[in-house]
């Protein structure tokens, strides 16, 4: 992504501007109060939510009521639970109806154990939904070629995984992320597998536009405090990226005998 002017550090996805580079998921929290507290502490402006059929007890709490009332928060339905493109497309359309926003996170993981995203179903769902006017944010394996294919069919951003959902293995896909970042024309948001704020900072330092965290906050000792820590880490990572990190060690050591003596002759 092109660097912006020094004052503004907003990023743009699907034509919408955001200043926060931390996205939050709302799953796995012990209760609504904690979840809402964490989301607010994170400063996230894009928050993913899921769709479920209403249970037998029609008086279930509306976990998301308070979030819905917050200004500046965009709820983004997640198609998680869908096992193929047509289920994801259906879920996306329901989500759009409920949220009234065109944002959708396409998440299709057929295997319920490792939860790795299906590249083929994801591509198909993204293609159909982008053509239908959705702002498509696909959760995807960190594959540079798949990234270009998803760009080509009209996705608004890319959401490559850092490591498997809930694994907490951080930026295991760092090298692939670098390749994706180099040639990306749309924002790159690392999603899944982050465990610590330092990992989120590292993703931003590397040049990613944003990160999405869920388990790392929900399953931490104090989710509200952790959400705040992530928010500060994301800002730090972003500032570091713009400032330019100092060089890694060993960059200027001479390893072999001279290679450039052929130039010392007075060449034309």
């Amino acid at each position: 992504m092109e660097r912006q002017g020094k004052g503004q550090d907003e990023w743009i996805v699907g034509g919408h501007r955001f200043s926060s580079r931390l996205l939050m998921g709302t799953g796995k929290f012990q209760d609504a109060e904690t979840m809402v507290g964490a989301v607010l502490a994170s400063g996230a402006q894009i928050v993913t939510v899921a769709l479920r059929r209403i249970g037998r007890d029609s008086r279930e709490d509306d976990m998301l009521g308070p979030l819905r009332q917050q200004r500046g928060i965009t709820l983004m339905p997640n198609t998680s639970g869908a096992r193929n493109a047509s289920e994801a497309i259906r879920a996306a359309r329901l989500g759009r109806e409920l949220c009234g926003s065109p944002f959708v996170k396409v998440e299709i993981h057929p295997n319920p154990h490792h939860l790795m995203p299906d590249p083929i179903e994801t591509f198909e769902a993204a293609r159909v939904l982008a053509a239908d006017g959705f702002v498509v944010m696909p959760y995807m394996p960190a594959d540079p070629v798949l990234a270009k294919r998803l760009e080509d069919v009209g996705c608004a951003s890319l959401m490559p995984l850092g490591s498997a959902i809930g694994s907490g293995r951080g930026l295991a896909t760092a090298e692939m992320l670098r390749l994706i970042l180099r040639d990306a024309r749309i924002p790159v948001i690392v999603d899944a597998g982050l465990r610590s704020p330092s990992e989120a900072a590292a993703a931003l330092e590397m040049g990613c536009d944003a990160v999405l965290v869920n388990s790392a906050v929900a399953a931490s000792g104090d989710p509200v405090a952790m959400a705040g820590a992530f928010a500060r880490a994301v800002e730090a990572g972003r500032d570091a990226h713009r400032a330019g990190l100092m060089p890694q060690g060993g960059g200027t050591a001479l390893a072999t005998s001279p290679l450039t003596t052929f130039l010392s002759v007075e060449g034309q």
């Binding site: 100092m246 001479l254 290679l259 450039t260 130039l263």
Partner: protein, 376 residues
């Protein structure tokens, strides 16, 4: 009428306008994702003391991405008719010299000679589109060459997407088109008349070739025409733009240096050997996986030194007059004077002595789709 630099090409937003320091050079050398800022640092005066470090880094990166090999190709000038008035070129329309084109049978003979010399990749060159050597003629020559060579490239004139698609179908796998200089004012001044005066038409042609399914596009600047740092930064921006928007195609880069030829055009911004070497090292460091070319313009010792130090693709035994491989005496003047006149076996022997393997064939055309070059 001077063109304006398109925003995607303009490197200035990526730079902070101040002179690079030693710290900037070190930062550039340690950077994981180097861009224009880093290239500018590596080409600045502050980088001069780092020449040897850059050479070693360039060699390591070239070995990583290309192995200990040099890709070999041969240029074949099909015709030297030209309607352009480029101040620096031996083929300019106001230079009096014999003009001719190879008839198809002659081209066939020249191609046979190149095959016998061991080449599997040929680059077909012409001047500007003309009634003597226009698109149809080039298409016929490409079809002919594609029957015998595994990789056929052209270096001719800007074309439409449709024309590039037809060439791709006929077996053209590469299009080379140097912008010469990205500075619009210099470009306007140097291209005195003819179709080549159109800066934007030329600039956008490589993208059209990629859109049409041409597998590889060759970009380059002619060192000596303008500030080489500015041209290098624009070249980097051009390459990044194409890679971002046409992910299925590849690029190569080349930095021919103005050399003496008929007409003796003096370079306004002369680049010496050290300058060219530094540019190759810097570009290799910033673009580790892009093939970098060096032609026979340069003297043998320089080519020997640079092979594998960033440079990954070279020609040898080249003739720069029309045809020339089958004849004892050239029938036209060359586009430029050849600096390295060694034969292919001599050149390959040098490479092997330096631990490099000359590679003539990188891909077999028998794998090509029936509908070659489709944008699938």
């Amino acid at each position: 009428m001077t063109a304006r630099l398109p925003s995607w090409l303009d490197p200035s937003p990526e730079l902070d306008g101040r002179e690079s320091t030693t710290a900037d050079v070190e930062r550039a050398l340690g950077c994981d994702a180097p861009g224009p800022r880093e290239l500018a640092a590596l080409l600045s005066p502050a980088a001069h003391p780092f020449m040897e470090v850059m050479a070693q880094r360039a060699r390591a990166l070239t070995q990583r991405h290309f192995g200990r090999t040099i890709s070999m190709y041969a240029p074949l000038y099909l015709a030297n008719y030209c309607t352009n008035g480029c101040a620096y070129c031996g083929f300019a329309s106001d230079r009096v010299q014999p003009r001719r084109r190879l008839e198809l049978s002659e081209a066939g003979e020249e191609l046979e000679m190149l095959k016998e010399m061991g080449f599997e990749e040929v680059l077909l060159l012409t001047g500007e589109r003309s009634s003597h050597a226009g698109f149809d003629y080039l298409l016929e020559c490409v079809s002919l060459a594609a029957q015998r060579f595994h990789a056929v490239g052209i270096e001719a004139f800007p074309m439409t997407t449709r024309e590039y698609a037809l060439l791709a179908e006929a077996g053209c796998s590469g299009v080379t088109l140097y912008q010469e200089t990205y500075d619009p004012r210099q470009y306007d001044r140097l291209h005195r008349w003819g179709p080549k005066k159109d800066y934007l038409e030329r600039l956008d042609a490589p993208a059209r070739a990629m859109e049409a399914g041409i597998r590889t596009v060759g970009l380059g600047v002619l060192l000596g025409l303008s500030d080489p740092v500015f041209d290098a930064l624009c070249l980097l921006r051009h390459a990044a733009h194409l890679q971002r928007n046409h992910w299925k195609s590849g690029i190569t880069l080349s930095f021919p240096r103005l050399r003496p030829q008929a007409g003796n055009f003096a370079a306004m911004f002369p680049v010496d050997e050290a300058g060219l070497a530094r540019l190759v090292f810097a570009v290799r460091i910033v673009l580790p996986d892009v093939p970098l070319l060096l032609s026979t313009r340069e003297r043998p010792e320089f080519r020997d030194g640079m092979a594998g130090l960033g440079i990954s693709k070279m020609s040898a035994g080249s003739r720069t007059s029309v045809g020339g491989y089958g004849e004892a005496e050239p029938t036209t003047d060359g586009q430029f004077q050849v600096g390295d006149k060694r034969s292919v076996p001599e050149f390959c022997s040098m490479l092997r002595n330096r631990g490099l393997e000359p590679v003539f064939k990188n891909w077999d055309s028998v794998f090509r789709d029936a509908e070659a070059g489709g944008h699938g």
